[in-house]
């Protein structure tokens, strides 16, 4: 298995080089002058713009700029933003914030999604099943923007004003782990719905399988049938989904991070693409690619745990 892991990690190197160049070229191709944009509605002095363009090598061709960037990265210098902040210095912090958010969402998602799906599958066709299906439909149809603002208003503002309970902060990360509860829930919303439906379908299929009928006929206790035979065998698609979703949660939290003022990667990525901060965009995307690669690797390794027929040698 060790060799398998090493092989997978080595495959990541060309993938990373390719993505950094593609992203760099895309950002390069965006129209407008990023330095002039720093002034907003106010015009910057043309002399200042000229000097800054030279400092950041913006007058050089694409390949030369990319060379400056990548040779910096190799020597451990991730570059600075146009606002003069070294990329490396705030990177770690932002990724930590987004990681906390994504993991909180993933925990919500895994617990709620699997439980709802399990319950629905066991009550197939009855009103509980119908209710869960309707609920997931609701979750899918409400956009994050709406659910985010509503939960922020209800749990952050109204709850405090009306009852004095000051448990859920409105925004920011000053309140430690509590800061991530509501945003995590909002971010998990959509995936909970998918996961519940996925679990339900997968479970119902397994429940009809011959080996389950055999186990029941042998007189195996229900709990053991469900846990050992049904759940374990139905979880493979679920795990696959969760693994891929971790990447989505980390890169796709733009709206949630903005609503709840979490200084994370999504927020930064949006701003940086807008400001054409190549160094930051490429840096963030590289990290996201790494997360995808590692998450998928873990998923593949988990298959072996769930299904003894799968082996990596």
């Amino acid at each position: 298995m060790g060799r398998y892991v090493i092989r997978r990690l080595l495959q990541a190197i060309p993938v990373l080089l390719g993505t950094t160049f593609l992203i760099f070229a895309t950002v390069y191709a965006l129209p407008g002058d990023p330095i002039a944009a720093l002034g907003g509605d106010r015009l910057l002095d043309p002399l200042l713009v000229a000097r800054m363009r030279e400092t950041f090598h913006l007058n050089d061709p694409l390949l030369v700029q990319y060379w400056y960037y990548i040779s910096g990265v190799v020597t451990g210098d991730l570059g600075t933003t146009f606002r003069g902040v070294p990329v490396a210095s705030f990177f770690q912090h932002k990724i930590q914030v987004t990681f906390n958010l994504a993991i909180t969402a993933l925990v919500f998602e895994a617990i709620l999604g699997v439980l709802l799906g399990l319950y629905a599958a066991l009550r197939r066709g009855r009103w509980q099943d119908q209710a869960i299906l309707a609920f997931t439909l609701l979750l899918v149809s409400v956009p994050t923007l709406v659910s985010g603002f509503i939960l922020q208003l209800v749990l952050g503002v109204k709850l405090k004003l009306n009852t004095g309970i000051d448990f859920f902060p409105v925004a920011g990360i000053q309140d430690g782990w509590r800061s991530y509860l509501v945003p995590g829930l909002v971010l998990a919303g959509l995936s909970v719905a998918y996961l519940a439906r996925l679990t339900r379908t997968s479970l119902m299929e397994t429940l009809r399988a011959d080996y389950v009928r055999t186990a029941v006929a042998k007189g195996m206790p229900r709990r053991r049938v469900l846990g050992r035979h049904v759940l374990r065998n139905s979880l493979i698609p679920v795990i696959t989904y969760l693994g891929a979703d971790l990447g989505n949660l980390m890169g796709g939290a733009v709206i949630t991070e903005t609503i709840f003022n979490l200084p994370g990667v999504g927020q930064q990525l949006f701003q940086s693409v807008y400001l054409r901060e190549n160094a930051v965009v490429v840096g963030i995307v590289t990290v996201l690619v790494l997360v995808y690669i590692v998450a998928n690797l873990i998923v593949d390794l988990l298959y072996a745990v769930l299904d003894p027929r799968i082996r990596y040698d």
């Binding site: 129209p31 407008g32 002058d33 002039a36 944009a37 720093l38 002034g39 509605d41 106010r42 015009l43 910057l44 002095d45 043309p46 002399l47 200042l48 713009v49 000229a50 000097r51 363009r53 030279e54 400092t55 007058n59 050089d60 606002r83 003069g84 902040v85 210095s89 705030f90 932002k94 990681f99 906390n100 993991i103 909180t104 895994a110 603002f149 922020q152 952050g156 503002v157 405090k160 004003l161 902060p169 409105v170 925004a171 920011g172 990360i173 000053q174 309140d175 430690g176 782990w177 991530y180 903005t258 609503i259 709840f260 003022n261 200084p263 927020q267 701003q271 988990l302 745990v305 003894p308």
Partner: protein, 553 residues
């Protein structure tokens, strides 16, 4: 057994996740549950663009913080006129050579006195091109600026670098003694003292500079100022979500009424507004437009609405533009067919007010209704004027705007005005970014009307006229040029007193209003609100909150 192992593994992952989530953000301050007295006054800002250095701070968020940490030679009274602050006197007989004396007793946060040298050092640093300070251009009025900022031989896009400057200091600055220095300008300018209240002209202490004559990195994160508040801990830009200031107890003008101020950084105004409503934030000087209707009702007396320094125009290239751009009568007809009141009330929900002068109401020299008939909505007369001056031959009016600044709605509304009232086809053309439209404007490639706005640099009427309407002015995208106008500005510049200068500037303003190369549409307003924890909130023409006088309620 395998199952057990699987369950353990899953449980282990979940625990790890919780642990990670729990320790994140633990570095931040936990919310204070003690008495309200222990809580700082919390003010909303966006992330400052640069380090908290006066010479490099040009946007509102950074300068909000900088103006709590620093004070300058001048400040502005309730009539928007400049008054001495650190300055004892600022005098000149010819409006070219100025002698500035400073008061005793002002000190830096580290205890050293504020001297004339501190001003000269800071000004030289900011004016030196290679230091890349955003407020560099303010110093172009001082003699010796050109030597410190040689032009790039092939323009800003070219590969050649600008040559090394031939001077490292402004030749127009001279330190006479500890409390006196002289300034020589490139031309007579009676408005010079009005510039000196702006952050660009704040001093810097000796401690700010390293051995190489540059500002130290340490200073940028933890600046030593001379204002009513000082840094209570260094600010890590890009990482920290708050900037914490504590009262400067040895401030010459007395102690601020609150002992601590916390600037909270938000990326989204709606989020900040929710925090304000929940009592987690005390002052916002900028409300989200969609919240304004509700804020008036919810905050009552604690809602603030006052003019700010911005002016929004539709400009027309009078040299190389389309027929309607070149004809002042047609421009006037366009101006008269715009329903400014409805646009500001509906599209902007009251965050703008109709403009009736080229000069903003926040500076001395503004005259209510100066624009007169030309800025008054009168569709019938507009159509008459339009037809009488060959408007019938105009097939399409083009309106250009940048799509990255939320201008689409009002441009469309304005286009509808023109369509209905002048019975002409109107095309609104978005540019993706502000920088793109500027590019085309500089090259004279925009024949039709275009959106433009101006935010003042310093509160003088001159600042609303010269850069915009003077021949070769830095923001004169309409290519307007009028000898009489230029002469009046010069007269205003060499006037002996502020009030005499005002007279000439207003005459120049009349010419700009007559020709309407830029048609004034609206003035910006400041819409703010504050919590029940604070009172006595005042906002100055630069949109800075007067934190020195804020009190706990």
């Amino acid at each position: 057994m395998r199952v057990t192992r699987g369950v353990k593994l899953a449980a282990g992952t979940a625990l790890l996740a919780l642990a990670v989530a729990a320790c994140g953000g633990g570095g931040g301050d936990s919310k204070e549950s003690g008495s309200a007295g222990a809580q700082p006054v919390r003010v909303q800002i966006a992330e400052p663009q640069n380090d908290l250095i006066p010479g490099n701070t040009a946007e509102t968020s950074g300068s909000e913080v900088v103006s709590a940490l620093f004070i300058g030679l001048m400040s502005y009274d309730d009539n928007k006129k400049p008054v001495n602050r650190i300055a004892e006197s600022i005098e000149s007989t010819d409006q070219v050579n100025w002698t500035i004396k400073i008061k005793d007793g002002y000190t830096w946060h580290d205890g050293t006195p504020v001297t004339a040298q501190n001003f000269v050092d800071a000004w030289n640093f900011t004016a030196y091109g290679p230091n890349l300070q955003q407020n560099n251009y303010f110093y172009s009025v001082v003699k010796g600026y050109d030597e410190m900022n040689p032009a790039d031989p092939d323009g800003e896009e070219g590969p050649k670098e600008a040559p090394e400057p031939s001077a490292k200091t402004l030749s127009g600055l001279n330190v006479v003694d500890d409390k006196t220095f002289t300034v020589e300008l490139t031309h007579p300018f009676s408005g010079f003292p009005t510039m000196l209240g702006y952050v660009a002209f704040y001093p810097l202490p000796k401690a700010a500079f390293g051995a190489d004559g540059k500002l130290t990195a340490d200073y940028g994160a933890n600046p030593i100022g001379n204002g009513p508040f000082k840094m209570s801990k260094p600010y890590k830009r890009g990482t920290d979500q708050t900037i914490d200031l504590a009262r400067n107890d040895s401030f010459k003008e007395g102690q601020a009424k609150v002992d601590a101020v916390q600037f909270k950084i938000y990326t989204d105004l709606n989020t900040a507004y929710n925090d304000l409503r929940a009592g987690n934030l005390d002052i916002m000087d900028q409300l989200p437009a969609e919240a304004i209707g509700g804020a008036k009702a919810e905050f009552g007396d604690r809602y603030i609405e006052q003019p700010s320094s911005g002016v929004g125009w539709i400009g027309f290239n009078v040299k190389t533009g389309a027929s309607y751009s070149k004809n002042p009568e047609l421009r006037k007809a366009i101006s008269m067919s715009i329903d400014r009141k409805t646009i500001t009330e509906t599209v902007f929900s009251g965050t703008r007010v109709p403009a009736d002068d080229q000069i903003s109401p926040v500076v001395a020299g503004y005259r209510k209704g100066a624009c007169g008939e030309a800025c008054t909505y009168d569709p019938a007369k507009a159509k008459e004027l339009w037809d009488a001056n060959g408007g019938k031959d105009v097939k399409t009016i083009n309106l250009n705007y940048n799509a990255d600044g939320g201008h689409k709605e009002w441009i469309e509304a304005l286009a509808n005005n023109l369509r209905t009232n002048l019975q002409v086809e109107v095309q609104a053309k978005p540019y993706e970014k502000f920088a793109d439209i500027l590019n085309d404007l500089e090259k004279g490639k925009v024949p039709g009307g275009f959106r433009m706005a101006w935010i003042m640099d310093y509160p003088s009427p001159e600042n609303y006229l010269r850069p915009i309407f003077a021949t070769g002015g830095s923001s004169n995208y309409v290519k307007y040029s009028n000898k009489e106008f230029d002469e009046l500005l010069k007269k205003g510049d060499s006037a002996a007193t502020f009030d005499e200068g005002l007279k000439y500037y207003q005459q120049a303003d009349d010419i700009a209003l007559r020709d309407l190369a830029y048609v004034p549409i609206y003035f910006y307003t400041t819409n703010g609100a504050y919590s029940t924890h604070v009172k006595n909130i005042k906002i100055d023409p630069f949109e800075h909150i007067d934190l020195f006088n804020v009190e706990r309620a």
